[in-house]
């Protein structure tokens, strides 16, 4: 294989990784806004769903760039297989493996959503929840393998992403009106009442 290395490929690998994480954060926050039924007045709920879908596509694209540039760059020795099979990289085995797990989960979420009409809704839902796990893996990977995470700006970005997702998740759990036994989600309308409170 041609020795293909250049600072620009390496920089692209790093920055696309950071952008992927930021995009993932946005996607998760938008997903939480959908499930908590935010919107309907100035911003349409359907618009939030559309944004969630388009930004997830953008995230996947940046993720692909991150993977491709990391693999082809011979500065670090990572083979294609390591993109999807964890623990196969000789460079930073565990940190890369965690990133691989994140990719696997995100792929599962994204693909299952592309095939949403064809798969069982409950299966889709279960897979979709692993987005949270993929975020944890992605953030851990960013911290452990990320070259920029030892720079201030890197830590700020990472901290911002993690903080945002954590807060949004807490808000989702606490802030939602109580569900009616979980089989039917409650629509938070003005005068809605939880009959079983």
């Amino acid at each position: 294989m041609i020795a293909l290395t250049s600072p620009y490929i390496w920089y692209t690998s790093r920055i696309s990784g950071v952008i992927s994480l930021v995009m993932l954060t946005l996607v998760i926050v938008l997903g939480i806004l959908i499930s908590t039924r935010v919107g309907g007045r100035r911003v349409g709920r359907f618009e939030i769903t559309e944004m969630h879908r388009s930004i997830s596509l953008i995230a996947m694209i940046f993720l692909a760039v991150h993977v491709v540039t990391t693999v082809i760059d011979t500065y670090v020795n990572i083979h294609w297989i390591s993109a999807v099979v964890p623990m196969t990289s000789s460079y930073q085995r565990l940190p890369v493996a965690i990133g691989t797990v994140a990719i696997d989960l995100m792929l599962a979420v994204w693909l299952s959503s592309q095939l949403k009409e064809r798969i069982d809704p409950r299966a889709w839902r279960a897979i979709h929840f692993s987005s949270y796990a993929s975020f944890v893996a992605a953030a851990s990977h960013a911290y452990l393998a990320g070259t920029d995470e030892h720079a201030t700006w890197g830590l700020i970005v990472l901290g911002g992403c993690v903080g945002t997702v954590v807060l949004a998740t807490i808000w989702r759990i606490l802030g939602r009106p109580e569900r009616a036994v979980g089989r039917t989600a409650l629509s938070p309308l003005e005068h809605s009442q939880d009959p079983y409170r």
């Binding site: 959908i34 039924r37 709920r45 559309e50 309308l189």
Partner: protein, 85 residues
């Protein structure tokens, strides 16, 4: 003998979780009850109403739980329509 093709939007009430996207995307066909669940127009609309058809398609695609379907009704079937909303 007219062969009017009409359409009607139908909801699976079990899948529906009251997200309300349908009311935003097809307000001519959907209103929400006080709990956020859709009340669908019962009368079918003609295929010739392109805008309405488009709204309905967007609503069907936009439903987060895929609870909506667009039911095609030929003139022969219209007498046997079950009364669902």
């Amino acid at each position: 003998m007219g062969r009017t093709v009409t359409f009607r939007m139908v909801v699976d009430p079990i899948r529906c979780d009251g997200f309300g996207h349908c009311a935003e995307l097809a307000p001519e066909l959907v209103t929400l009850d006080e709990w956020g669940y859709p009340i669908l127009q019962v009368e079918p609309f003609p295929q010739s109403d392109r805008e309405l058809h488009r709204s309905a398609q967007l609503a069907v695609r936009g439903c987060p739980r895929q609870a909506l379907t667009l039911q095609k009704i030929t003139a022969a079937q219209s007498s046997e329509l079950p009364e669902r909303r």
